[in-house]
Subunit: 168 residues, 2 copies
């Protein structure tokens, strides 16, 4: 039932899905979006985006930095990566997972969504969701408190279906 939906959702990939295709898709969408917006997806930024998409697990800035350094054969500076990530986050191509100090590729860039994640404590995968019930509940309670919402952050730590089976 719903489990199957997960398996076929781009947000929660099957364990052995074609991840090269995932990456290629993400880059293609990013190219299109940036062209449309007149944003400059430079070579460096594109490379960083590709490294973020290296897995569906949020990755730390320094992990990406290492990859970048290894590719180039010489060490890159942290700022190099942080600046690229800042651009990517601004463009909605990448999300920052606050509770992990890490970054993950956005599953649906361009679409309006509010940064909601199911983060598996075991495998580290971050499943991006966009549940209007959560969003509207947040908007409602904020309104009741006279609070003006700018950026809602929802990060649910727990166990994904696969990891529940492994460690019940």
């Amino acid at each position: 039932m719903l489990y199957r939906n997960i398996m076929h959702s781009p947000h929660a990939p099957a364990p052995h899905h074609d991840h090269d295709h995932c990456i290629a898709d993400a880059l293609t969408r990013a190219d299109a979006l940036c062209a449309e917006r007149g944003a400059r997806l430079t070579s460096l930024r594109r490379r960083v985006l590709e490294l973020v998409w290296n897995s569906h697990r949020p990755r730390g800035a320094y992990a990406i930095l290492e990859d970048l350094s290894q590719q180039d054969g010489k060490p890159a500076a942290p700022l190099t990566v942080y600046r690229a990530l800042e651009f990517l986050v601004e463009q909605g191509l990448v999300h920052r997972i606050e509770s992990l100090n890490a970054y993950v590729g956005c599953a649906a860039p361009g679409a309006v969504h509010s940064g909601q994640f199911l983060v598996c404590a075991a495998c580290g995968n971050a499943i991006e969701i966009d549940d209007p019930r959560i969003r509207s509940a947040i908007d409602a309670t904020a309104a009741e408190h006279g609070f003006r919402v700018q950026r809602p952050t929802v990060e649910v730590r727990g166990l994904c279906p696969e990891c529940q089976e492994k460690v019940p």
Copy 2:
């Protein structure tokens, strides 16, 4: 006597509420809860809790560390504070605000609640809420994804009513 920020929060509605009373209440509740549980609220842990409650704004571990060092006249080590905070968070006396890497006193320790905050980008106050609609929306969407919830984190960045008036 330490300097204290007197901030407006739903738990202290008046802009110039009696914050000493806030702190005293928090400590009393902490004493009772820990006694009830057989948890050891040692002198150090109690002092750290008091320093967290110094304002209604989330405070960084190193800010607390400085206060502690100043009180003692000699520098304390980071671990001293981190270990105390770890205990306090475990006991539900303090919450960690992930998006700020900071800690704030729990408004209703002992009660079941799920860590939801309205964080003002201007004044820095963190208003703790416990909206069952948010929680049940999270539970529902998690269930639909076959995800087992361990710890939901909801941190809504925005502007509190007072700061909206100041900077509209």
